[in-house]
Amino acid sequence: MGAIGAGIAALGAGVGIGLIGSRAMEAIARQPEAVGDIRNNMILTAALVEGAALFAIVVGLLAG
């Protein structure tokens, strides 16, 4: 059960981080001069999304 939960969590985080990445790419394409700001915010948001997924994975580990 834990492995299934971890898999679903990874799925959610993958979709989330993929969306962040795609929108960041679009934003960079539209405004190449703002690449630094966009990259920072992209990493920050990705870290937050990843944090939620990692909670789920740790709970999955605990559930064994």
């Binding site: 920072n40 990493i43 920050l44 990843e50 990692l54 994975i57």
Partner: protein, 445 residues
């Protein structure tokens, strides 16, 4: 001089990544043998379980069993009381143990003779100090016949039959009797096999030892850089100073200035830089697969918890009036929303450092687990030495993937240090920010 330094560093990196694989394989091979005998013992124990625990299987050391990937990986990423350097070569580390009913026990971990000797009821179980829970076990130094692993079914908290979990329990064999071992004493308890226990372990463990090495390296490097800044005051940086200045400027311009703000960033620059460089160094040291490295430092919950608590304390000590107002009584919203929002805000106060802790721990642990699993393919495909072709295939596949994973881990090591620093900076920035938007609130009222 400069050219020499560059050549040297390239040489070191090349050595690390080419020999690292061999070391890791060698290590795993030895482990294969180890887990073999332990598994065998376990089987024997299970066989003997029904007939009541008798001592006939206490000293059984037959080399015939299977490679257990999960146990091997978990043992490699866990902390240890001795440093495994080479096949059969261990660096003994100081142990400092305290039990409320016995007092202090100190010494070197070599005094346990790899699980063949008990000192004051403490034994070494796969590199970790465990304590015999039974008070009738003799104090002082006694020889034991070995440590026995048994897989027992433990009924979960709900007490239902379906929720039975398999758990490993360890026993020390002494004069034909089995004594149950307490769990190792760790803060990461539930996750990596620790738990509530009868003793406290203040030892310089493998992780602590690696952290000391990383700190000494950092001090050495930064003293050199500081000397450079003194020498080249008002001039262009030189040597290692110009290499590090890139990082300093990056932290200032990309992390602290935008996150904390022009007014306050200088005060927090040292703290954020310390976090960044410490995490980066221990992450990189953890990637080195042989002696001074190989400790899973930031993959240890106790370490990441301490770092997160530092951020928590620095954030809340520096919290301005506005910060607390926004937590306890958010201005500019209807009163009934405030009643819902205040508990959420108070919770988020603790969730922020908690997520910092989990993020770093899970990222680094996951990387180590993946690399160890890939190396484990060699033994899995090799079918415990029966199939040489399988082992060779496993070595090729595992080796190639490990090379790629190491490169990804190199990125993750830097990225996680950056993320920890930038999130800490943004939390501090939220705490010290002084809003000038009372007019906006007035409008909302």
């Amino acid at each position: 001089m400069k050219v020499d330094l560059r050549k040297l560093s390239i040489l070191v990196f090349a050595l690390v990544f080419s020999f690292g694989m061999l070391f890791a394989q060698d290590h795993g091979q030895e482990h294969n043998g180890e887990s073999t005998h332990e598994e065998q013992e376990g089987h024997e124990a299970e066989a003997g379980h029904d007939s009541g625990l008798s001592h006939s299987y206490c000293g059984g050391h037959e080399e015939n069993g299977k490679y257990d990937p999960v146990t091997t990986v978990m043992e490699h990423i866990a902390d240890a009381n001795e440093f495994h350097v080479w096949k059969g070569v261990h660096l003994p580390l100081p142990v400092i143990l305290y039990a409320p009913d016995h007092g202090w026990t100190t010494g070197l971990s070599s005094m346990f003779e790899h699980g063949h000797k008990a000192v004051d009821g403490y034994v070494l179980n796969h590199g970790r100090v465990n304590r015999v829970a039974d008070p009738s076990f003799p104090k002082g130094e006694v020889h034991i016949d070995g440590i026995l692993r048994q897989t027992e079914k433990v009924i979960g908290p709900s007490g239902k039959e379906e929720e039975m979990k398999e758990k490993d329990t360890f026993y020390a064999c002494y004069e034909g009797e089995l004594y149950k071992l307490d769990k190792p004493s760790t803060v990461d308890g539930g996750f990596l096999g620790g738990g509530i226990t009868s003793f406290y372990d203040f030892s310089i463990t493998k992780v602590v030892f690696s952290m000391i090495i990383a700190s000494l390296l950092l001090i050495w490097l930064f003293l050199a850089v500081a000397r450079g800044y003194k020498r080249n005051e008002g001039k262009a940086p030189s040597g290692v100073q110009s290499f590090m200045e890139v990082f300093f400027v990056f932290i200032r311009d990309e992390v602290t200035k935008p996150m904390i703000g022009e007014k306050h960033y200088e005060r927090f620059q040292p703290f954020i830089m310390t976090l960044f460089f410490f995490i980066m160094f221990v992450n990189l040291l953890g990637l080195v697969p042989f002696f001074p490295g190989s400790g899973n430092i930031t993959g240890n919950l106790a370490v990441t918890m301490t770092l997160a608590i530092f951020t928590f304390i620095v954030t809340n000590i520096n919290g301005k009036k506005d910060y607390w107002e926004h937590i306890f009584w958010m201005p500019g919203i209807p009163a009934w929303v405030k009643i819902i929002l205040t508990p959420v805000e108070i919770l988020s106060l603790f969730i922020k450092p908690f997520s910092l802790m989990i993020r770093l721990f899970a990222n680094i642990s996951a990387g180590h687990i993946i690399i160890l699993s890939l190396i484990g393919l060699v033994f899995l495909f090799g079918n415990n030495g029966e199939s040489v072709g399988g082992a060779a295939g496993g070595a090729v596949i595992g080796g190639l993937f490990t090379a790629f994973m190491n490169l990804i881990e190199l990125l993750v090591a830097l990225l996680q240090a950056f993320i920890f620093a930038i999130l800490s900076a943004s939390y501090i920035g939220a705490a010290v920010e002084e809003h000038d938007h009372h007019e906006a609130h007035e409008g909302a009222h």
